[in-house]
């Protein structure tokens, strides 16, 4: 391949909402092979808008892999750690896809669209890897890559439901958390799912790429009186960190298991027939994990960042996986792995910041929990 072709292959792709981002003068960065908005104006204001009002995210970079047909249920059961037999039609389930060692290949949300139809929403960076993994392990279900057939918009925040209600006849009150329906929003056919990655109430709308711009504009217009603003990946990251949602590639990866990451609740070891990684995970559960992903704060000034050394008794034991200054709580927060016998709330340790150990301690997570209504 010549250099010009290489350069073209490397150039990030644009989501269907790219013109809207350019128009809004968003700061665009290459992320998982796409030009993605990191922020439109103020990251902190975008974060606050989602906590207090509503924010609209372009998450079209996410991948979709579809399993349909008589072998679809068995296939997804083989791939996913969660029990999709217990997932009703119209319901979604968070799950991990693990390798034989129990390491996390990806974390996914599975939408059951019919008894024999599963749409698996996968991380953007893992689209090709997951498709190859699915094709290798469940070829009989003929996994189909629909990544380019869907755009995805996330409307998140306490005002999300009221805003969306202005644009749809779908009975939103009838859609519970982690449930979805097909319906029209602003005249565009969508999957309307009550899911998200911010810790707030909200919806993710899967639509046709050609409809995405019109839907984006309609939502922003309808939500303007409520203070709806477009939000970038920057706020998405601080929002998810505050509620301790794992980010693939940071907090979890093929070298970590869901049990170590505190995701035991999506691991259904009792599921008939087991699943990829179930033996390794059953063994790990019986023996007890040797390390745990914990939330921490610093007890002195500083901001923990991905990759900073984690010191226990003055010795490096791991690295910070996620870390930021919490925009809502205004305190430094982070996630890291600690030895399981030293991972209890209150455990003191240190984060090395620019060569200096800064005292830290394990705190309960989520760091932030939305006020109950």
């Amino acid at each position: 391949m010549d250099d010009a072709l290489n350069a073209r292959a490397m150039e990030p792709r644009q989501t269907p909402l790219h013109p809207a981002h350019v128009r809004a003068d968003a700061k665009l960065v290459p992320f998982a092979g796409f030009w993605m908005p990191v922020q439109y104006g103020s990251l902190l204001e975008e974060h606050q808008a989602v906590r207090e009002r509503a924010g609209l995210f372009d998450v079209s970079h996410m991948g979709e892999i579809v399993l349909t047909g008589p072998r679809a249920l068995a296939a997804i059961q083989r791939l996913a750690t969660n029990d999709l037999a217990a997932c009703a039609v119209g319901q979604a389930m968070y799950a991990a896809v693990c390798n034989e060692r129990g390491g996390i290949v990806d974390d996914v949300v599975v939408y059951r669209r019919a008894a024999d139809d599963f749409l698996v929403c996968v991380n953007a960076a893992n689209r090709a890897k997951d498709l190859a993994w699915f094709a290798k392990h469940v070829p009989e279900a003929a996994p189909r890559d629909e990544g380019d057939d869907w755009a995805q918009l996330a409307l998140q925040g306490p005002r999300a439901s009221a805003i969306l209600a202005r644009l749809t006849r779908v009975d939103l009150a009838a859609i519970g958390t982690y449930h979805f329906r097909d319906g029209e929003v602003a005249g565009k056919p969508c999957i309307v799912a009550r899911t998200g990655y911010t810790g707030e109430d909200g919806f993710e709308l899967f639509c046709r790429p050609d409809d995405a711009l019109a839907l984006w504009d309609a939502l922003l217009t309808a939500g303007a009186p409520d203070g709806l603003v477009p939000c970038g990946l920057g706020a998405r990251d601080t929002l998810r960190t505050e509620v301790r949602y794992c980010l693939y590639g940071n907090d979890i990866d093929e070298g970590t298991t869901p049990l170590e990451a505190g995701l035991g609740w999506i691991v259904k070891l009792g599921k008939p027939g087991g699943f990829l990684g179930s033996e390794a995970l059953a063994r790990q559960k019986a023996e007890g994990v040797s390390r745990k992903l914990v939330g921490f704060t610093l007890t002195d000034r500083g901001i923990p960042r991905h990759g900073y050394p984690v010191l226990l008794d003055g010795r490096k034991v791991s690295e910070v996986r996620s870390g930021t200054m919490s925009p809502t709580l205004k305190i430094p927060i982070g996630l890291c792995y600690l030895p399981a016998d030293r991972a209890a709330v209150g455990q003191p340790f240190a984060i090395e910041i620019r060569g200096r150990p800064v005292p830290a301690k394990v705190v309960p997570t989520p760091f932030y929990k939305r006020p109950s209504v």
Binding site: V38, Q39, S42, L43, L44, G234, G302, I303, M325, P327
Partner: protein, 130 residues
Amino acid sequence: MASYPEELKYTKDHEWARASGSRVTVGITEHAQEQLGEVVYVELPKVGETVTKGEPFGVVESTKAVSELFSPVSGKVVEVNDPLTDSPATINEDPYEEGWMIQVEATQPGDLEDLMNAKAYVEFIEEEAE
């Protein structure tokens, strides 16, 4: 529109220096704060510490980025803008006045001579952008 006061001197690391006799006040430029985004954390030296021209004297951080601060002069820190610790966003709002960071009693009077004037600095950041 970004502004670059004529009376200041500028470094390639995007600090500014304002000399008044041997006292030099130091901060970061409009361009620097724009690039960094909203500052949420600042770490500055204490009064009495020494700083060295071209060496780090502190850190500013936005939610997404960490940026070291490099001293445009050598000398002893005689004043620190401590309120920035609690309101680091001042650096975004008013980088040349309220957002100043440290004042140094310079020991090398010639330190500022090789820094850029406003015109040269504007050309420098335009070149950097290309």
